[in-house]
């Protein structure tokens, strides 16, 4: 088993509690299923959409830069899968696709 990170990018936030609840139920169902199959290493965390960027030799701090909202990472999960192909397949069930978002699947580098 190898480890992978799912980075959730973009995806519209729900505008009403009802809609949010439906979205949430879908996510919970999807992740519960992955967990039941032993693929969840760490359920990860959601991230705020605001932040700072520190760059340059002098460590300049700026707000953003905000890329297109579809590129903002909204959360991550640590996954275990046989290989990248399987990890990507498993990501296919993520509800984020219905809300205009995407999942970036990245293998954790092994030493």
């Amino acid at each position: 088993m190898s480890e992978f990170v799912y980075l959730y990018r973009g995806g519209q936030r729900a505008e009403s509690p009802d809609e949010g609840e439906k979205q949430m139920q879908r996510w919970v169902a999807w992740l519960t299923d992955l967990a039941a199959k032993g693929h969840i290493k760490d359920q990860g965390q959601p991230l705020e959409s605001e932040g700072k960027v520190v760059r340059g030799k002098n460590g300049a701090v700026t707000d953003g830069p905000y890329p297109e909202s579809k590129d903002i990472v909204g959360g991550y999960t640590l996954i275990e899968a046989e290989n990248l192909t399987q990890a990507a397949e498993l990501a296919g069930g993520c509800p984020i696709f219905e809300f205009d978002g995407l999942v970036e699947v990245r293998p954790v580098m092994k030493m």
Binding site: A14, G20, Q23, Q25, L31, Q43, Q45, P46, G75, T77
Partner: protein, 419 residues
């Protein structure tokens, strides 16, 4: 995934109450925005982390922290906030004050006060009910509109008007103890309407109606829990609701279609709720005033006491309807009285009594008026008239559920006629 949607709604009502207390009545919209924000953020977190064991407590804590955050940030503007402004000036008093407002007892007390505030005598009854559903039960304008078969925009406007009215009166949470009893009748009325909308209402979705009933019962219980503001009448109202709730599951079949009282499976009536209702009914006695709630509760108790429809004490029901006609006469009460009379003395007596009811516009649009007439005509052997009156009832049906129910009755009238 079994999430009790109900509990979220309730929480949202509690959060809005606490936050309006914190921000002041003029800022109900801010309170609602914050409550919604807290809720949406919670969902974002639960998406990945799963729903916590105690989502209610989680939401309350999140709302509390958010309120404290906002107050710190808004310190310069504190004077615009509520009468509690002073307490927010210093860190020493800010957190304890907010904690106090979020304590279970205070929230319950504030919800009670909010309930009385919604029942401002200057507001029409429908607005009072809509406000309660919006502020205390966390219903959206769309949901209220669906429940009452009205237009979303109309309900939203009604709620807006109600809120600005509330915002203009400075004394929401400071309603004096003296003012509470004078508004009690209006509160009872609003809860009664809320429950009835759930019980007899026009919404085609059984789940929506059950929710309205549950909310009415929750708020009534809040009232009952506070002896300073409840009365014998409150007990009568509760008895009425609990009797009704006990019969709720048997009123519709698995397809969500209505089942007539005659055909209901009485073994599905909830004995626990009936027992509780009887207790309430006992406690409602002894006062000086006999209200419509007392009578309606007594009527419900007669139905609940009969294990089979044949065991129904129609004589007592007739007497109770007669009393109700003197306290609060209405065409619908007269209709029910006629049905009791028919069961006691024969269908023709009922038919005559129904025909004697003065026609009103309200009654003319009520599908169960021609339907009741049709049922009795059918029993009297006049299948032809029955068929005609069932057709009239079908034309008045307010939702598919009522229509299917009436169509089925019309069908059986047709079969009788052929036979």
């Amino acid at each position: 995934m079994d999430l009790d949607e109900q509990s979220f709604r309730r929480e949202s009502g509690r959060i809005v109450t606490a936050l309006s207390r914190i921000f002041g009545l003029a800022h109900i919209s801010l309170a609602e925005d914050v409550a919604q924000d807290v809720f949406c953020r919670a969902l974002e977190v639960w998406k990945l982390r799963g729903v916590p064991d105690n989502p209610s407590a989680w939401l309350m804590t999140a709302a509390k922290n958010r309120a404290i955050d906002l107050l710190r940030r808004e310190r310069t503007a504190r004077n615009h906030l509520s009468e509690l402004g002073r307490a927010y000036e210093s860190e020493w008093t800010l957190v304890p004050t907010v904690n106090g407002i979020f304590s279970v007892e205070t929230i319950e007390d504030d919800q009670l006060r909010m309930m009385f505030s919604c029942c401002d005598p200057h507001l029409p009854e429908e607005t009072q009910v809509a406000l309660m559903l919006s502020l205390l039960c966390g219903f959206t304008a769309g949901e209220i509109a669906a429940a009452f078969l009205s237009k979303r925009d109309a309900i939203a406007k009604r709620i807006e008007r109600g809120k600005s009215m509330l915002a203009s009166c400075k004394t929401l949470f400071d309603l004096s103890e003296r003012e509470l009893p004078s508004r009690l009748a209006a509160v009872h009325r609003a809860l009664y309407l809320l429950f009835n909308e759930g019980y007899h209402g026009a919404s085609p979705r059984a789940a929506v109606r059950a929710e309205l009933c549950r909310e009415a019962m929750r708020l009534a219980k809040l009232l009952l829990g506070n002896p300073r503001v409840s009365s014998r009448e409150t007990y009568a109202l509760c008895a009425l609701m609990w009797f009704g709730a006990a019969r709720l599951p048997s009123r519709v079949d698995s397809r969500g279609d209505l089942i007539s009282l005659y055909a209901q499976d009485r073994s599905r009536w909830d004995a626990g709720l009936i027992g509780k209702a009887n207790e309430f009914l006992d406690q409602s006695a002894g006062g000086t005033e006999l209200t419509e709630y007392h009578i309606e509760a007594a009527i419900a108790s007669v139905h609940c006491a009969a294990a089979r429809i044949e065991d129904t004490d129609w004589a007592r029901l007739l007497w109770l309807y007669d009393v109700l006609m003197t306290i609060r006469p209405s065409p619908v009460v007269a209709l029910n009285r006629a049905i009791a009379l028919a069961n006691l003395q024969g269908p023709q007596f009922g038919i005559d009594a129904i025909r004697a009811i003065p026609q009103t516009d309200r009654l003319a649009a009520y599908p169960f008026f021609p339907a009741a007439l049709a049922e009795l005509e059918l029993r009297a052997g006049d299948a032809k008239s029955a068929q005609r009156d069932f057709e009239a009832a079908i034309a008045l049906a307010r939702n598919p559920m009522e229509r299917r129910f009436l169509e089925e009755r019309a069908e059986s009238a047709k079969r009788e006629g052929v036979r």
